[in-house]
Symmetry: C2
Subunit: 237 residues, 2 copies
DNA sequence: TATCATATTATGTCTATACTTATTTTGACC
DNA sequence: GGTCAAAATAAGTATAGACATAATATGATA
């Protein structure tokens, strides 16, 4: 968090991107300004146009530039930069923190999805699904309580898996690659069940993460994850 | 094969990426497998190696492939795919929902940062900063309560701005481009002040967003945003 | 003056080639 | 068998050239 290399200058394209970024941040090129075209920049920087193109693409992806054919490249007026959020497998997170990971399935049954689960998956609440509730522990202390619905129709071979003994998240990550995912953050006061599972008081504010994934065959799984009190999830860019 | 175009496959590189993604998702190439090298794929797909390289880079960025020089390209064992989180300007969010936006500064003073603010900015809590508290409304109802510290040393010309009348977030977005940002999500029970500002009860679970930005000159601003009860922030990929 | 077809232009994309770099293979040598 | 240096290899990156495409600028026409 503390080391902040101002110029990650490995590679000519990245060096050019860094220099252009500096000019924008230092307001040499102001918001809304048209910047020189790729051909000119290529001459200025002594690089091929393809290299300049790559550099400017990077900055456009960051949201710092807006590019349109023929119209040229402009510094974005409202530079909404995007942060990348990666949700690692909890086991790895816990183990990389030097703690021992464990995991306990609290309940498992076959049932039609709850109205909310069906809404998140964007389907009618009819077909039977696997309903799983589990707690993840680090060094014996509860870290996350998950309430998950799994659509057996979405992945072949799911019928033979006993999710009472297999970590559902990890199995799904490895065996049911999704094509689209949806993640939302919210907050909720712990209800009786949340409080019991996470060993905290009813009413404590919990960070709630809803995650739903889909593939060709439809929704794969939707899960509500309640994080232990005080937990933070961060993205850095 | 060729008549099946379900994905927006404009561009040869994107088409190749889509096809490789399909092979992975359909498990023709399994996790951990080494896939053919760029030169072979270039022949298979009838493309230049640079084009295949671009396609595979996309998938590596998505987290679906792991690439190492000389060692080749493998399907990721734990395909942790990344979601992109973009935090738009609240005014735009509210106005695009067809609501009227307004904004009220509750307090503004010059003071050394709180210990927590200093910690988030990674500095010693000494120099004077601007401390601002404001509420953002949509159709007169409170949407977010923000508690912000601004470092006047980080941006030239900040001294002349009266943040009582200017939207600090928008001014900063336009005038203090950052080079690094840090965003974390957490949850908190509304304290007396949160509850008053957001017109809710003490103890309600609130989604809290901490956001800190830096440039060359050091930290620009750090803000704690308390969202109205029930608010969700989502990312989709 | 307004409208529409045409030319122009900046970015988008692909290609072929070349060279660089990290890593693994190999093989000589002890 | 073990060690280490050299060869081989696959990705990383850059380049010049080419054509495609979308948007703008221009000029002819009504």
């Amino acid at each position: 968090m503390t080391d902040r290399t101002p110029a990650p200058t490995t590679g000519k394209a990245l060096a050019i991107a860094a220099e252009v970024r500096r000019r924008i941040v230092d307001r040499e090129w102001q918001q809304g300004d048209r910047i020189p075209d790729e051909a000119d920049l290529a001459i200025d920087f002594g690089a091929a146009r393809a290299t300049v193109n790559k550099a400017l693409q990077i900055l456009a992806d960051e949201g710092l530039l807006e590019r349109r054919r023929r119209a040229g490249t402009r510094v974005a007026v409202d530079p909404v930069r995007k942060a990348t959020l990666s949700i690692p497998i909890l086991r790895e997170q816990i183990e990389s923190a030097g703690m021992g990971y464990s995991h306990r399935v609290v309940a498992m049954q076959h049932a039609p999805p709850s109205p909310e689960a069906a809404r998140r998956m964007g389907i009618a609440p009819d077909g039977p699904m696997i309903h799983l509730r589990a707690v993840h522990y680090g060094d014996g202390k509860p870290f996350q309580y998950e309430d998950r619905w799994i659509n057996p129709a979405a992945v072949a071979g799911m019928g033979t898996v006993d999710f009472r003994h297999v970590n559902a998240n990890e199995w799904l990550v490895r065996n049911a690659l999704y094509q689209r995912a949806d993640v939302t953050f919210s907050a909720a006061n712990a209800d009786v069940r949340d409080a019991r599972m996470l060993q905290t008081r009813v009413g404590r504010a919990l960070l709630i993460l809803h995650r739903t994934t889909w593939n060709d065959a439809g929704p794969i799984t939707t899960v509500r994850i309640a994080c232990r009190p005080g937990h933070e999830i961060g993205t850095s860019d």
